[in-house]
C-alpha cells in the first residue's frame, strides 16, 4: 500500500494544537488521520509484542472516549513529555469523543515516541467498535464516511499486547491465559491481525482476576478467562515478576487490588458512560527498588502511588440535550442542520 504524501509534510504540533487548544476539540481531516496512522503503523512494525519500559512512568487504564477526562489525567498526572505514560487500551467506544481521544493519543505517541506507550485493549477491534459506539461516532463526525474508522482499526492491529516495567511488573489490558505460562510465548505470536475469538492474544485482552478462585474458570464475558491466586503466583514466579497491572474492569473507587497488590486493576474513566458515578485512577510508579519480602495488607507496592480522581466538570457541558459536537467544515446553516441534525446525545436509562 502506498500513500502519497503531500508537501508540506505532517505537522504534529499543529495537529495537537487543533485537538488541545479548541473547545470543542477540532477533528483532523481524513487525510491527516490517514497519514498519522500510516506513520505510527510503520513505527509499530518494529515494536515487539511486549515492550520494555522503565520507571518512572504512569499507567493509565480504560478511557473509552471520555476525552475531557483524558485531559484531566494530563492535568493531574502531568502531560507528555514531562510524564512518561503507558496506556493499557480501550481508548474508544461508549464515550462521546472516541475519535478525538484516539487521534490525540496517536498524535502524542508520534510526537513523543519514547514518552508514550499504547497497548491494545479488547475494544481495539473491528467487531467490538462496530457495536459499541466508535463506528457510529466516526459515521456521524465524518459525515457518513468510514475511512477514519478503517484507518484506526487497521492501526489497532499493530498495537503491542503488553509491557514490562523495569522487567519486573507486567502490564496488559485484561489478564492471564491458560495457554500461556511464559512471557516468551506472547513474544512469538503474530499480533498483526484482528483479535481472535480465543487463544493467548484473546485472553490477554479479555481475562479478569477473581479473588474467589485459585485456578482458571470460563469468563462471564464470553471471551477470556477468570484467573485465580495460584495462577497469578505461578505466572509471577515463572517470569520473575512481582506484579500484574491491568485495566478492563469498571472499579467504583477507581482501582482494585488483589492478593496484596500482586494484581492491580486501574480504571481511568470516571463516571463511566456518564452514568456509573464511579471514581477513576492512574498509577504513578516512581521506582521498583524494594526488598521483595511480601508485606501483608499492602494495596500497592512501594514506589507506587494511585492517583484517584473524579469526572472533569467539562463533561456536564456536553451531555446537555441539543448540544452537538463539532463536525468537520461545520455545516451551520439551518437547512443542513434540520435535515442532517444528529440526534441530541442522551445518557440512556429505562424510562
Amino acid at each position: 500500500m502506498t500513500v502519497s504524501f503531500l508537501v508540506p509534510t505532517l505537522d504534529l504540533d499543529y495537529c495537537l494544537e487543533q485537538l488541545l487548544d479548541h473547545k470543542p476539540p477540532r477533528l483532523l481531516p481524513e487525510d491527516t488521520v490517514h497519514q498519522l496512522c500510516h506513520l505510527l503503523k510503520t513505527q509499530l512494525l518494529s515494536a515487539p509484542n511486549i515492550i520494555s519500559l522503565a520507571t518512572p512512568c504512569t499507567v493509565v487504564g480504560d478511557i473509552h472516549g471520555q476525552y475531557h477526562d483524558l485531559l484531566e489525567i494530563f492535568r493531574i498526572g502531568g502531560a507528555p513529555p514531562t510524564t512518561n505514560y503507558v496506556f493499557l487500551g480501550d481508548y474508544v467506544d461508549r464515550g462521546y469523543y472516541s475519535v478525538e481521544t484516539i487521534t490525540l493519543l496517536v498524535a502524542l505517541k508520534l510526537r513523543y515516541p519514547s514518552r508514550v506507550a499504547l497497548i491494545r485493549g479488547n475494544h481495539e477491534s473491528r467487531t467490538i467498535t462496530t457495536n459499541y459506539g466508535f463506528y457510529t461516532e466516526v459515521l456521524n463526525k465524518y459525515s457518513g464516511s468510514l475511512k477514519v474508522w478503517n484507518y484506526f482499526t487497521d492501526l489497532f492491529d499493530y498495537l503491542p499486547l503488553g509491557a514490562t516495567i523495569d522487567g519486573t511488573i507486567f502490564a496488559t489490558h485484561g489478564g492471564l491465559s491458560p495457554s500461556c505460562q511464559k512471557l516468551d510465548q506472547v513474544r512469538v505470536i503474530d499480533r498483526f491481525k484482528e483479535i481472535p475469538h480465543d487463544g493467548v492474544m484473546a485472553d490477554l485482552v479479555w481475562s479478569d482476576p477473581d479473588p474467589d478462585i485459585t485456578d482458571f474458570k470460563l469468563s462471564p464475558r464470553g471471551a477470556g478467562y477468570l484467573f485465580g491466586r495460584d495462577v497469578m503466583d505461578k505466572f509471577c514466579h515463572e517470569n520473575d515478576l512481582v506484579q500484574l497491572v491491568r485495566a478492563h474492569q469498571l472499579c467504583n473507587e477507581g482501582f482494585v487490588s488483589y492478593w496484596n497488590g500482586k494484581c492491580l486493576t486501574i480504571w481511568s474513566a470516571p463516571n463511566y458512560c456518564y452514568r456509573c458515578g464511579n471514581l477513576a485512577s492512574v498509577l504513578e510508579i516512581s521506582h521498583s527498588n524494594y526488598a521483595l519480602k511480601e508485606r501483608k495488607d499492602q494495596t500497592f507496592l512501594p514506589g507506587q502511588y494511585c492517583n484517584v480522581f473524579d469526572a472533569s466538570p467539562e463533561n456536564t457541558e456536553d451531555t446537555h440535550e441539543g448540544r452537538s459536537v463539532n463536525g468537520i467544515g461545520g455545516a451551520t446553516d439551518i437547512l443542513t442542520t434540520s435535515l442532517y441534525e444528529r440526534p441530541g446525545r442522551h445518557v440512556e436509562y429505562f424510562l
Binding site: 467490538i128 469498571l250 456509573c276 456536564t316 446537555h320
Partner: protein, 368 residues
C-alpha cells in the same frame, strides 16, 4: 411554548416513546423470540400522529422520531428491556392463571403491547389501560387502523377508522375506547390522589371492584410526587377489594450511580421525585406494608437477571443461553450496577396468591 408544568408532562409522555423505541430494538434483535407484531402499528401511529400532539411541530416530531428509532441501542439496554418486559409478563401470566376471573389495570400503559398479548392468550381476564389522553389517542388510532389489534381486544366488526390531520382534530377526538374485555381510557392519574375521589372512581367503571385485580406500573408511578405516589396506591387499595400490584421503578440506592442518574435526567427535564425519597427496597417495603397495608415481595432487576445473587435469578438456563447468544455483552459490571437500581415489587391486599412463593425475591413480606 409550553408552560413549565405542561413541559414537564410533555417530557413524561415522551418517556413512552423512549420505552417504545427500546422495545422495538429489542424485538428486532430477537430478544422476545418471535417478533412482537403489535409494535409496528404503534410505531406507525406515532409516526403519523406525534406532530399533532401538544408541544410538537411537524419538524420537531420528525426529529424526535428519527432520534428514537434510528440508532440501535447498546446491548445492555436491549438486555434490560428484555428483562423488564419478561419479568412483568411472568407475573401477569402467573397471576391470571391462578384466577378464574380477574382484571388487569395497566397504569400509564402508553404504547405498551401487553394488553394485546394478554387478551389474546387468556379468556378469563379483562384488561384496562389508563394514560394521558394524548397517548391514549395515539394507541386508539392504531387500534382503529389495524385489524389484528381489533381482533386482539375483541372489537366489534365495522368500527369506523379515524384519521387525524390536525392538532385541533387530535385535541377534539374522543380518547376512550371500550370493548367487552378491554378499556382504554384517557385519564390523569394524579386525580386519584388529589381530586374528587368519586369522580376518579367514575373513570374506572369498567372494573368490577370485587374481582381480583392486578395493577401494573412499569416506570409510571416514579414520575409522580411522593404524595401522589402514595395517594394513587391508597386510592386503588381502597377502591378495589382484592388489589395486587406489580411495580417497576428506579431507586437511587444513595450511590454515585444514583447521583449521576438524578443529574442526567434533570438535564433532560425529567424529575424522578420518588427516586431519592424511597431509595432502597427496604424503604419501599416499609411504604407498602406499613403505610398502605399491602404485603410486599421485593427484588431488583440485577437479581432477576442473574447478575448478582445467582439463586434469585428468574430466567431458566435455556433462556439465559438464548439471549446471551443474541448479542455479546462485553462486560457485566455496568449492567449489574444499572439493574440493581431498578426495583421490582409485587404487593397484595386481601389476597393470598400462590405464585409469589414460586418466584425468587430479595425481601419477603413482613406481614402476610
Amino acid at each position: 411554548m409550553l408552560l413549565p408544568t405542561a413541559r414537564q408532562d410533555k417530557l413524561v409522555r415522551a418517556t413512552d416513546l423512549d420505552a417504545l423505541s427500546c422495545k422495538v430494538c429489542a424485538s428486532t434483535k430477537g430478544y422476545f423470540g418471535e417478533k412482537d407484531r403489535f409494535l409496528a402499528p404503534l410505531v406507525a401511529s406515532y409516526k403519523s400522529n406525534l406532530q399533532f400532539c401538544d408541544g410538537y411541530t411537524a419538524l420537531s416530531a420528525e426529529r424526535t422520531l428519527r432520534a428514537a428509532f434510528s440508532t440501535a441501542k447498546f446491548p445492555l439496554i436491549n438486555r434490560g428491556t428484555f428483562l423488564r418486559t419478561r419479568a412483568l409478563d411472568m407475573v401477569v401470566d402467573r397471576f391470571v392463571l391462578e384466577q378464574k376471573k380477574c382484571q388487569v389495570l395497566a397504569l400509564g400503559g402508553g404504547s405498551d403491547t401487553r394488553a394485546f398479548r394478554v387478551l389474546e392468550k387468556y379468556s378469563q381476564v379483562k384488561y384496562m389501560e389508563v394514560d394521558f389522553p394524548e397517548l391514549v389517542k395515539i394507541k386508539k388510532l392504531a387500534i382503529l387502523k389495524l385489524e389484528i389489534l381489533q381482533a386482539a381486544v375483541g372489537a366489534n366488526e365495522g368500527i369506523d377508522l379515524i384519521e387525524v390531520t390536525s392538532k385541533e382534530e387530535l385535541r377534539d377526538m374522543y380518547s376512550d375506547f371500550v370493548t367487552e374485555r378491554y378499556a382504554l381510557v384517557g385519564f390523569d392519574l394524579r386525580l386519584c390522589s388529589k381530586g374528587d375521589k368519586a369522580q376518579a372512581a367514575a373513570a374506572f367503571l369498567f372494573l368490577d371492584p370485587s374481582l381480583p385485580t392486578l395493577i401494573i406500573s412499569e416506570c409510571v408511578l416514579c414520575y409522580l410526587s411522593p404524595g401522589d405516589f402514595v395517594g394513587v396506591l391508597r386510592f386503588f387499595g381502597d377502591f378495589l377489594e382484592h388489589p395486587s400490584l406489580i411495580l417497576f421503578d428506579p431507586m437511587s440506592l444513595g450511590d454515585g450511580f444514583g447521583h449521576s442518574m438524578v443529574s442526567n435526567l434533570s438535564n433532560r427535564g425529567i424529575d424522578l421525585q420518588t427516586f431519592q425519597t424511597f431509595p432502597t427496597l427496604e424503604s419501599r417495603q416499609a411504604l407498602l406494608e406499613e403505610q398502605l397495608g399491602f404485603s410486599a415481595y421485593l427484588t431488583d432487576m440485577a437479581a432477576v437477571g442473574g447478575f448478582s445473587v445467582p439463586d434469585l435469578n428468574w430466567l431458566s438456563q435455556e433462556e439465559v443461553q438464548r439471549i446471551s447468544s443474541l448479542e455479546m455483552m462485553d462486560e457485566v459490571e455496568e449492567i449489574t450496577l444499572m439493574l440493581r437500581h431498578y426495583s421490582l415489587i409485587y404487593g397484595e391486599k386481601n389476597q393470598r396468591a400462590h405464585f409469589p412463593e414460586e418466584l425468587q425475591w430479595k425481601l419477603q413480606p413482613k406481614y402476610k
